[in-house]
Amino acid sequence: MSVIRTPGGLSLRFRPRALAVGAGAALLAAGLGLVVLGSGDYPMGPADVLRTLTGGGTAAEQFIVHELRLPRLVTALLVGAALALAGTVFQSLVRNPLGSPDVLGFTQGASTGALVVVVLGGGSLALAGAAVAGGLGTGLVIYALAWRRGVHGYRLILVGIGVAAILTGVNGYLLTRAPLMDAARAVLWLTGSLDGRGWANAGPLLVVMAVLAPLVLVGCAPALRMMELGDDTSSALGVPVRRLRLVLLAAAVLLVSFAAAAAGPVSFVALVAPHVAKRLTRAPGPNLLPSMAVGAALLVGADLLAQRAFTEHQLPVGVVTGVIGGGYLVWLLAMERRAGRL
C-alpha cells in the first residue's frame, strides 16, 4: 500500500502491485489484440496493423482491419471486461469464490430468452434483445425469491442454483423443439462465439459499459470493499447496504445480459478472471479494475487460441474458455478443499 500526499492535505492510497497487474493485463490484452488483428486468411505484421489502425495502409487492409477484425476484437475486449466485472461483483456480494453468473442462473436466463427466439424464428437483433430480457427477468425472479428483509449471500446462491437447474431443463426442452439447423445455431450461440461480430454487436455493450463501469468502479467500489466485512459492520460504518446491494446486483445482471447478447453466454470468464486477478494482485477486497483487464486479456487470448488452435476449422471461443475454466475450477475446488475453506 502506498500513499501520495499533496501539500493541500489531499491523499491518494494505492497498491503498486495492483496497479502493475492491471496495467500488465491491459498491455497483454492490447498485445494479443494486435496479434488477433494481424492473424487470419490475410496475415499482417504488427507494424502493418498499427499503421492501418492509425489511418495508413491500403484500402484492402483498411477494410480487413476496420470492418472485419476490429469489431470482433472490440467485442471480445468488452465482453471479457464486462463479464469479469460482473463476476467480481457477484463473488464479492455473495462472499463466495464460486458465485459467478454461470452458476447462479443469470446466464441460463439469458440463454432461455435467446432460445425462445430461436424456436419462434427471429433475427439476430431479436435474439440479442431476448437474451437481455431473459437475463434481466431471471435476475428479477431470483431477487424476488431470495428477498427476505434484504437479500443475503447464501439465499441468493441457493435460489440461483435452483433457478439455474429449472432453466437448464427448460433450455434443453427448447433445444429439442427447434429444427436441427436452428438447433445447431442455438448451440453455437449457447457456447458463446465471436464469429462474425460487427459493430452492431459491440455498440450496445459499449454504451452499457460506458455507463455502468464508472458507476461500479467509482461509485460503489469503496463501499463494496466495506461490505465484505459483513452487513452489520458495514452498516455501522455508514454503508447503505440494502440499496447498494440492489444497485450492484442490477448493474452486474445488466452487464452479464448485454455481454451475452453480444457474444452469447461465454462460460467461466466471470468465474476465472477475478480469481486470476486476485492471485496476481494479492490485494484484499474486490479487485475490480485488474479483474476487468484480466478478463479482457483472457477472452482475447481464448479467441486467438480458438481461431488458431485447429487449422481446419475455427472453434467458438466458448469452447476454449469452457476448457480453461473447467480445468481451473477443478483445481480451485481441490485447493479450497485443502485449505479448509470449502
Binding site: 454461470d102 446462491i157 435460489v159 435452483g162 431443463g169 433445444l175 448451440v187 469452457g322 477443478v330
Partner: protein, 316 residues
Amino acid sequence: MALLGVVLLLSIAVGAKAMPLSDVWSGLLHRDATEYAVVHRMRLPRTVLGLLAGAALGVAGAVMQALTRNPLADPGLLGINAGASAAVATAAAFLGVTAIGGYVWFALLGAAVVTALVYAVGGGRGATPARLALAGAALNATLYSYVSAVMLLDTASLERLRFWTVGSLASADSATVTRVLPFILVGLLVALGAARPLNALALGDDAARALGARPALIRAAVIVAVTLLCGAATAACGPIVFVGLLVPHLVRALTGPDLRWLLPYCAVLAPVLLLGADVLGRVLGRPGELQVGMVTAVLGGPLFLWLVTRGRVAHP
C-alpha cells in the same frame, strides 16, 4: 404401493395413441390383440425403465444425503448425472458409440469420477449444504458447457444427444431395460444393505465404529452404489434432476430419518414421481410429449426453492 400400481397402469394406458383401459388390458394379456404391439414394444419397456430409473435416482439421492449429511445432495444438482452425460457425449462423438450398451460403461465411468470428486469436496466436516451445492452447480456448468461444445463440433451427435440430454424415457425399448437392469439391481441391493451401517454413521465416525460399523467400507460401498445407480439411470434416460432431491424429503416426512425405512419407501415413491411426471408430460405435450426431465425440473425446482427459502439450510 397402491399408488405405484395406479401410476404404472396410467403410464401404460396414456400415450400419443389414446386407448380405453379395456383395450390396454387385453393388449397386455392377449398376444393376438391389435394393441399388443403398442403395449409390449413401447409402453411396457418405457414403464419398466421409469420404474428402474426412478428407484435408482430416489435411492441414490437418499444415500447421498445420508453420506454427505447434506439435505441438498441430489445426483442431478451435484453434477453426477452431468458427469455421466459428459462421458456419454464423449463416447458418442469421438469414439463412435451409438448404442445404449456402450453408453452404460461410459456413463458409469463419468458418474464414478464425479461421485468421487463430490465426496472429496462434500464429505468433510467443513462442508456446508450451500457450499456443496455451489460446488456441484459449478461442476454442472463445466460439464454441460463441455457437452454443448461436443454437440457443436459434431452435428450428428447433436441430433442424437439433444433429446437425450433433456432426460427422457421415450427411447426405451426392451434392450435398454435389460442392459441397465443388472446395474440398477446391484446398486439398489448395495444401497439397501448399507442402510443400517449408514444409520450408525449418522452418529459420527467414532460412535459408528463403537457400534461395529466400518466407516471407510460403508463409504466405499455407498459411492459404488451411487455410481451404479446414477450411471445406469443416466445412460438409459439422460440426466434427470431433482428426483433424487425431492423424493427423500417427501419420504422423510412419512418415515422419519431411519434409512432402513427411508430407502425402500424412496424406491417405491420415486418411480411414482418419475412415471407421474412422464405421464404428465405425455398428457400436456399432446400430440408430442414433454420430456420427463423437463417436467421433473419444473416440478422439483420450486420444492428446492421452498426448502432453501424456508431458511433451514440457508445458513452456512
